[in-house]
Amino acid sequence: MAESDTPAEPTRRDFLLHAAGAFGVVGVGAVAWPFIDQMNPDASTRALASVEVDISAVQPGQAITIMWRGKPVVIRNRTDKEIEEGKTVKLEELKDPLARNANADAAADASDANRAAAGKENILVMTKVCTHLGCIPLDESGEFGGWFCPCHGSVYDTAGRIRKGPAPENLPIPPYAFLTDTKIRIG
């Protein structure tokens, strides 16, 4: 194409070529984003991000599971024995030392108090999705009396903390608040 090796003055064609190229790059970028972002959850899915639950009927030793953002959230009214077991564990024995509680400080340790509801140590609210590959752990099972994941054998204790198996983290605690003494809003 080039007729000589010496750099010539930019011509009108060079200008048009570069302007069109720059325009094309911006255009491709502007069109690419909608085509990527359409795959993300839309506003109607995000709008489902909060549910209210009445827990007045949940007796000690009972639990209910509700759906939040398409995932099961367990609300357990723990027995005194379960609370006691949760409290006696030494923090250095835990595989994941963090509380993973969306309502507490991100650096909070995984003590039983930081895992349970603030001011209500019998109530435990957690997303019941294994932190390994997303299976649903079974209630009241496993050698620590908490939860056991049937897929790859992760074991959680009575405070939902990972104690054994391939899962890397404690079961996460979603953002929630007590609206009244017996009503919780999750999300």
Binding site: I36, M39, N40, P41, T45, T65, M67, R69, G70, K71, P72, V129, H132, L133, G134, C135, I136, C149, P150, C151, H152, G153, P166, P168
Partner: protein, 425 residues
């Protein structure tokens, strides 16, 4: 390789067409006059069998799409409707579901053929890499197809596999949300998987055209692994290769039909006849048989490696096990292609084959099951180690230390020596 074209249009219509679009010439040169090495064995018929299976899957899939509904509330029932109500629906669905398994059986035979006879070596590197790309696309298509019936295995398979991405630090969670279009696998996931499941076979068909193009540029490898030297070494594709391909297609179809008519659910899981339930995970999640070796590799990494935790390590090892195939042309340093002339390679190769089957078995059991006195996960770790040793250590080193047997002068000479009187064969 194919030299100059021998096609001569005879009819007036043929001549008219030839002057405007020489497609008949292309087909003639590709499938009739194309010279193939005269010593090809039955393992060389699997390329044709794979092409046939791609057509079977596309035809049965298009028909199924006429009756299937990709909506999470009715998907499961629409599949049951295909099985019970649609005229011949049971046949078409069983052909498609078992067809996927047959496709993988054929592709694994095709790949091991290439591994043994060194079909990945120069000048066939691009040909081989295109094959690896087809294999990857096949795995994606098969995984997404398995999600569509929206049974328990569909749902939890999709959950576990999309969760692989959460192993990546920082970007993992947003990537997973983007892929499944929500906070968990749901209708959005089902819809996009259906769309992509319909698209991928046509991408595969496109790469297959490139694969065949590359094949016809460099020519077929053969059991001796030596280059074609003269016309004496070859025979025309039609009738020689064509008839052999058709014969083995018939054998393969008999095998396929046996599954479709007598064991249609043998290769599947009963749990997938239970509708997807986001609140309950089946007790024992296993992928389809063709993914089991990679599943075993994923689960084998249950320990942290430096800054890489066990979850990310498992995912990297699994994807690495597939990615390493693309580098094979440069990992194998031996100048000799065919395993027939490589005594040490032969042993390592067969061990690799047995090891791959063993990994498949390990992928099907629970990690804490006891096998030969040790936990399955320990065996999986040893097998994973051999899998990578084969590609990363054994093949690179063997090229330098192995003394291959003498190669025949030509394909023709080898055949004549074999049939000569007084020969030991």
């Amino acid at each position: 390789m194919s030299g100059h074209s021998t096609y001569v249009p005879r009819t007036a219509l043929g001549k008219w067409f030839e002057a405007r679009l020489p497609i008949v010439r292309l087909l003639h040169d590709t499938a009739v006059s194309y010279p193939t090495p005269r010593n090809l064995n039955a393992l060389w018929t699997f390329g044709g069998i794979l092409a046939m299976m791609l057509v079977v899957q596309i035809v049965t899939g298009i028909v199924l799409a006429m009756h299937y509904a990709a909506e999470s509330h009715i998907a499961f029932n629409s599949v049951e409707g295909i099985m019970r109500d649609v005229n011949w629906g049971w046949l078409i669905r069983y052909l498609h579901a078992n067809g996927a398994s047959m496709f993988f059986i054929a592709v694994y035979i095709h790949m091991f053929r290439g591994l043994y006879y060194g079909s990945y070596k120069p000048p066939r590197e691009i040909l081989w890499i295109l094959g690896v790309i087809i294999y990857l696309l096949m795995m994606a298509a098969a995984f997404m197809g398995y999600v569509l019936p929206w049974g328990q295995m569909s749902f939890w398979g999709a959950t576990v596999i999309t969760n692989f991405f959460t192993a990546l630090p920082l970007v993992g969670q947003p990537i997973q949300t983007l892929l499944i279009g929500g906070f968990s696998v749901d209708n959005a996931t089902l819809n996009r998987f259906y769309s992509l499941h319909y698209l991928l076979p046509f991408l595969i068909a496109g790469v297959v055209v490139l694969h065949i193009w590359a094949l016809h540029v460099v020519g077929q490898n053969n059991p001796l692994g030596i280059d074609v030297k003269s016309d004496k070494d070859t025979v025309p594709f039609t009738p020689y290769a064509t008839s052999k391909d058709v014969l083995w297609m018939v054998f393969f179809l008999i095998f396929y039909a046996w599954f479709v008519f007598y064991q249609p659910n043998f290769l599947g899981h009963p749990d997938n006849y239970i509708e997807a339930n986001p609140l309950s995970t089946p007790a024992h999640i296993v992928p389809e048989w063709y993914f089991l070796p990679f599943y075993a590799i994923l689960r084998a990494i249950d320990f942290n490696i430096g800054p890489i935790d066990s979850k990310l390590g498992g995912v990297l090892a699994m994807f690495g096990a597939i990615a390493v195939l693309a580098f094979l042309p440069w990992l194998d340093t031996s100048k000799v292609r065919s395993g027939r002339f490589r005594p040490i390679f032969k042993v390592a190769f067969w061990l690799f084959g047995v090891n791959a089957l063993f990994l498949g078995y390990l992928g099907s059991v629970k990690t804490d099951d006891i096998i030969f006195g040790a936990q399955a996960v320990v065996w999986a770790q040893l097998s994973t180690l051999y899998y990578f040793l084969y590609f990363l250590v054994i093949l690179p080193v063997l090229g330098y230390i192995e003394k291959p047997k003498p190669l025949p002068v030509s394909i023709n000479d080898a055949i004549l020596a074999k049939s000569a009187p007084g020969s030991t064969h």
